[in-house]
């Protein structure tokens, strides 16, 4: 359903959401960074539409960096006492999710469903409602969503898309979850008029004009990459890579993880099995206990990251594993720029 909500009444809506944990981008003045944090319901301007990309996407809550799978301990000499720990089903709602980050969640959904449903992921995911905020102006100078099937007004993965129309929001509910959220405070929503709809269209066109970074002929890329597996291209491109984990940890679509047992005490045995993010840029990601490492150098790791996002994932899911949020581009300590890399790939002979 489509609605209109004035900015004044927006806080009332939020106030009504008592049964939810409400997250929104909050600016930390100390390091002037935006982060998703639970917000103060009484703050009138909870949602600042000009906010820049958050350091981490909602991934940090839907797919937390640390997830306890189970707790174990020795019960007696013979047996062990093992207790699964599922995340509690608290309802949560994210306001102001950027369309790129929402699309990223949609991509993760694909990964965590399929043949095997990741119960830990879905417990959180199902209880999460994503309220997007269309980008009237790109939140980063390196945004390139248009190149990867996205748009500043994309709805994919969202339950509601808000469009900032100055004094009011155009509210587009896309799912049941979205409708539920609106129904919590029906009365404050109005029906949209034609001028609202056209205003939305205009805003979208204006915004898309402002996105000035792009990957050319992206359709060609997957095949091109396939041919380039053994190319020395990767050695060249990775020269400046310092094998840190910023690009992947900040990426809203990267979802690799490691599972380890954290032993707290040996006698009596006590510990937890946890899932933590892992990272294909770390040398120990593929390290075998034999000492063999199939991806021994930076080149093979940069290649892995690029191919995973722009070849393997496409082959499997028919999507790029990238939504153009540009965090990796802006935050890379040495300015490795996936846009530039892929444009080079296109011209690589």
């Amino acid at each position: 359903m489509e609605k209109i909500l004035t900015k004044q009444s927006f806080p009332q809506w939020v106030k009504k959401l008592k049964s939810y944990n409400v997250y929104a981008p909050v600016k930390n003045d100390k390091d002037n960074h935006w982060n998703y944090e639970t917000i103060d319901m009484n703050d009138p301007n909870v949602l600042d539409s000009n906010y820049l990309n958050t350091v981490l996407s909602p991934k940090k809550i839907i797919f937390p960096q640390r997830e306890v799978f189970l707790e174990f301990g020795s019960q007696n000499e013979e047996g062990y006492d093992i207790k699964a720990t599922l995340p509690d089903e608290e309802l949560s709602v994210f306001f102001g999710v950027r369309p790129c980050d929402a699309r990223a969640v949609a991509l993760m959904d694909k990964v965590f469903s399929g043949d095997f449903e990741d119960v830990y992921y879905w417990k959180r995911r199902k209880s999460t409602t994503l309220v997007g905020l269309a980008c009237n102006t790109p939140p980063s100078q390196n945004c390139f969503c248009l190149s990867v099937e996205g748009s500043p007004f994309s709805k994919e993965g969202l339950d509601i898309l808000l469009v900032d129309l100055g004094d009011r929001y155009f509210v587009d509910s896309l799912t049941e979850k979205g409708d539920q959220l609106i129904n919590v405070a029906k009365e404050i929503f109005k029906e949209p008029g034609e001028k609202d709809k056209s205003a939305v269209k205009k805003a979208q066109l204006d915004s898309e004009k402002e996105i000035n970074r792009q990957i050319k002929d992206i359709k060609e890329i997957p095949l091109k990459l396939k041919e380039m597996f053994d190319s020395s291209f990767w050695d060249e491109e990775s020269l400046s890579c310092i094998r840190c984990g910023i690009c992947t940890y900040l990426c809203p679509t990267c979802h690799c993880f490691d599972i380890s047992d954290e032993v707290i005490a040996t006698s009596p045995l006590k510990g937890k099995r946890v899932r933590t993010w892992d990272n294909c840029q770390f040398p120990d990601f593929t390290m075998h206990s034999s000492g063999h490492n199939p991806r021994p150098d930076k080149a093979s790791r940069l290649r892995q990251r690029t191919l995973h996002k722009f070849q393997y994932f496409v082959e499997k899911y028919n999507h790029f594993m990238c939504t153009g949020c540009s965090r990796c581009v802006s935050k890379c300590p040495v300015g490795i720029d996936i846009i530039d890399v892929l444009n080079k790939v296109n011209h690589y002979e």
Binding site: E77, A265, T266, S267, L269
Partner: protein, 648 residues
Amino acid sequence: MKKTGVFICHCGINIAGTVDVKKVAETLSKYPGVAHSEEYIYMCSDPGQNHIIEAIKEKNLDNVVVSCCSPSLHETTFRNACKLAGINPFLCEIANIREQCSWVHKDMEKATEKAIKITRSTVERVRRNEPLEPISVPVTRRALVIGGGIAGIQSALDLANSGFEVILVERSPSIGGHMIQLSETFPTLDCSQCILTPKMVEVSKHPKIKLMTYSEVQEVSGYVGNFKVKILKKPTFVDPDKCTLCDECTKVCPVVAPNEFDVGLTGRRAIYIPFPQAIPASYTLDIKNCPGLLPIACGKCADACEPGAIDYDMKPEMVEEEVGTIITATGYDLYDKEIMAEYGFGKYADVLDGLQFERLLSASGPTGGKVLRPSDHKEPKEVVFIQCSGSRDPELHCAYCSKICCMYTAKHAMLYKHNVHDGQAYVFYIDIRSGGKDYEEFVQRAVEEDGVLYLRGKVSKVFEENGKIKVWGVDTLTGKHVEIDADMVVLAMAMRPSKGMDELAKKLKIAMDKDGFLSEAHPKLRPVESVTAGMFLAGAAQAPKDIPEAVAQASGAAAKAVTILSQERLFHSPAVAAVSVNLCTGCGMCVDVCPYEALTLKDGKAEVNEVLCEGCGTCAATCLRAAIQTRNLTPLQVHEMIKASVGG
């Protein structure tokens, strides 16, 4: 998982009195990996040890923890027991629950809890111990003695007489050191040369002693039991075998140089024999003073030499020797003249140092034993002896006491009186230190029988005035200012380590104390050993000493050396550092910190010399890469011990 056996000792009530040993045993029996846990009244007793041995055999345990008294007491006992039971002794560790637990606590419950933690953490350690074998090295059963003074001679003889080959290195042309210069020795006044020369001859004749005079140690490498030494043999230009001691060469030599043996009171030729009884009995041509080796330049001595013993083409030669131990006995020199200018030393001919005076008193000396003034060969009627010239003077000179001066000054004064019956001897002193057998009596004799006048106080000024040497001082006992018109002044100069010893010490890697004497490993318990294994100290090189002390220490050092030389192989604790080459980046920080130079960099990687390593582990803590660890006390072991000590 490895099977650990835990054995808790009651030690009568010493432990059981405060620690509930049953509870400890019981708790530990439930501890992961513990296959056997028992307590017993006296574990160290034979039945106790048998418990351990049987348990090991029955339950075939892999390793053992004994919770009892301090490891310093029974570690060996229990490790041997384990050995008997057929497991490597290094797989047995002691948990100290007596000295560090039962004896220092009252509250039984808490003491028990602590005993459990201590035992637990020892279990965590022992189960990660690796079986080790003592490191064994073959011993080169020869010794090197550096310095041919009385100390060096004594050590060399003792070692040789114990049946070991000895290389005795002396840098001057003859052995004998300072002792050979002395006239008579306190307190018995027997003639120094008479008692020393037989020993010198014995050295020269001894089949096991290789004497290398006019030689200097250039380089030392290796480690205890296996040192490699490079010795430079300086050319004497005289072949001792050919030389007949006819002395024709000196007659024709045109050059006169100060005679070291007479401390410069007389001269010698450029070609010379240090003194008649010199060993080896041969001449030396000292090129510093020789006009030139080319016959054109001079060549008189060669012409004069009937047997043609003189060979100008003799070249310095580098000799390499392998030895198992090294004794350093480089002796002393007297404090530099120049520095003692305040007492007119070096300024006035009749101000002498102790050694010069010894030469005046010596029958073999320049005056044939008569005390005569160097300046005018007159008999001095008033002689002032000044003790502590340079000693016990932290502000200007040496802080330490040179120890022997009180005695030899008394001797000097006494002998002077015997020489010049109508003369008067004055002695300025701070204190008289005459500890030693018959020493005090000797000093008293000087005062009472020979009327030596002792003045307690320091000399303020020494200057020449109409043919006399005026000595101003204060007698602090009377508080009076004293003025003496002396004919001769004798300074009891401070003893210093012999010149060049610092370089030698560096070559040997022996530490020196603040005064430049060699440091012993422990001031009380290891007085003749250096900190470097296999290196020993003898004589005044370590600190001022008189002859009996030097001889005693020399024999002590020899005996210590024998403890090494008498072995076929040396055994060394295997709990040493080990390098994980893959982790090492070759930064060399471990090399910097190792106190034993056991670590070196080889092709950019650290390498441990297991014989030199004492296993202190400082390298391991310094290494940023965790590339070094000490065997059986690895970071992993400590980490697990920490967990077991605080956890729970």
